[in-house]
Symmetry: C2
Subunit: 370 residues, 2 copies
Amino acid sequence: MPSSAVREQLQQAAQERITRLRERLERHRLGGALLSALPHIRYLTGFSGSSALLLVLREQVHFVTDDRYAEQVRQELFALEGLQVHISREPLKALAAALDGVSVLAFQPEYLSYGTLLEARRRFRPVRLRPLRQMVEPLIMQKYPAEIELMRRAAWIASKTFEAVLERIREGMSERELAAELSYLARQLGSEGDAFEPIVASGERGALPHGRASAKRVRAGELITMDFGCLVRGYSSDLTRTVVLGRASSEQRRVYQVVLQAQERAIGAVRPGVAARAVDAAAREWITAAGFGEYFRHSVGHGLGLSVHEPPALSPRAPARLRLQERTVVTIEPGIYLPGRFGIRIEDDLCVTTNGAELLTTATRELLSL
Amino acid sequence: MPSSAVREQLQQAAQERITRLRERLERHRLGGALLSALPHIRYLTGFSGSSALLLVLREQVHFVTDDRYAEQVRQELFALEGLQVHISREPLKALAAALDGVSVLAFQPEYLSYGTLLEARRRFRPVRLRPLRQMVEPLIMQKYPAEIELMRRAAWIASKTFEAVLERIREGMSERELAAELSYLARQLGSEGDAFEPIVASGERGALPHGRASAKRVRAGELITMDFGCLVRGYSSDLTRTVVLGRASSEQRRVYQVVLQAQERAIGAVRPGVAARAVDAAAREWITAAGFGEYFRHSVGHGLGLSVHEPPALSPRAPARLRLQERTVVTIEPGIYLPGRFGIRIEDDLCVTTNGAELLTTATRELLSL
């Protein structure tokens, strides 16, 4: 898809999401919404900077950022209907002037600090501010085709990065050097940067699900878990593979198969309408039956988009009503972590299709010996 | 300094900061404080994960994170006096049990979401919660010698990374490839990772102060601005250099000299007791006198530590009472951005000494032609 067509489609997606947000505000009899979560603002405007607020009113959309981003605004912002851009170091003051005729304004309680809320209440008086949870989340769980195309590309880069890094893994290199290779290769293959700081955890450090790459050197016989992600126009991928340096022990192979089969069960469960917690259960029951239940302590996966962690959380604690929809992109990443010994995690990215799921990541999931 | 001695000193720094926080709470007749800003929690506990809350009471310190980080807690947390660790997916519930005898608790209004505040109010009833702005900031503006040593190291790695990347810059390579080299070389030289996503902006993209590296290729005659940072035990450096590919035009050279001299003036102004805004003014007045005032629209610098942006902000809008202290680490980064043409920024890291400042970054500031 040519870049201008992608931009066109992303802009259309933003416009449609704003329309749906307005319908929701209407149902709650709210005159507008103040958005403060930056990834949500990016979904609705295209802006990728680190400072912005968005005010969605019935007819207009007011965007405000500071003067460091004046040029970036010109390059990035979608041509939305009724868009007004403000460049100001006092963003709430700039927005206050637009509130004529509004009596109640929604805000995002999960993403607005109490301090900023106080200032907004003062600046926006007599407009009342009312918390509206999960304001944007339902609008972004389903991705548009152009977004899926970008994520397919980000997942492809991650898969190719994994394949390429295998050539570079040597006994005695540090986890940090390996992380450097991942990050380097991903950018060479077209990633805009790391979707998150790469995790490289080897040997007993593999038992840390979120272990950052350290100065520890990789040794023969050790498992190495690599968890990293790429970015294409801000859209993420998130891939984890565990490989062995030299020959795997029979126990390592056995635990690997448990994780792999758990992952395949969860992947097999993904389809429109399935409960998020049922996808988690598909992997968790398998791991528990194999006797490793207490060593798998995180959720089986999460939504993916402009953020690496988005709804839906595929978690045992997800509400029963949270169900997967067509065109939602999720990761499936079961793991088993044996403290003081080793850890294994396997993660892929999937897009929910009409009747199942498309794997976006393509790297082999067999246990590779290097 | 051996690693165990560094850890010992960081732990002592944390303990002293907690003591000073308690004195402050005492003065405000507050029974304790709920901390939610992750970098602040890291200063006070050593924990580097992405989910935690900290409750500082008169005698005890309660730390809570979720079970993904159970192992990391064991490795990272300082042995603080009266420390109690809770591992829970319901952090506020876990902390509520510790509040016996507390009547008023401070919280950080800048870093606590309204949603979490509501939950805390409910869970902690009948304890009242009261906002206390800038709760931790004054305690971290002065760094301890071990912290300065880590930042000196992070600054050294950034300087060496810049020197090494010069060998790799070729006409026709993309900004993104150049960012990949920066990130790679930094890790090879000992950085834990990128302190922030490297900025590479060439030619007219140089006029974007926060331009991310793009697919644009660098061409002869273009200026290239590289802004990147390294991490050592979580402590950051932040370095910017602008170089020219081929020969600089006389205008490019002239503007470069204005920025360089502005930076030298600001560096010359840094000493204990000077107002933060006076350091900004030293650079800004020079740039304005040269006729480029409207093209320098950001602050001249910022504090540096476990976060890349910390107080004090060296800004024209800084309050007059905000003054530099000995052992504060700051960056000085004036720039001139000519829209549609080119941009120049030069940034170094300094530690305030008894009577002036020590430059932590060591790379040459002359305009290099590649």
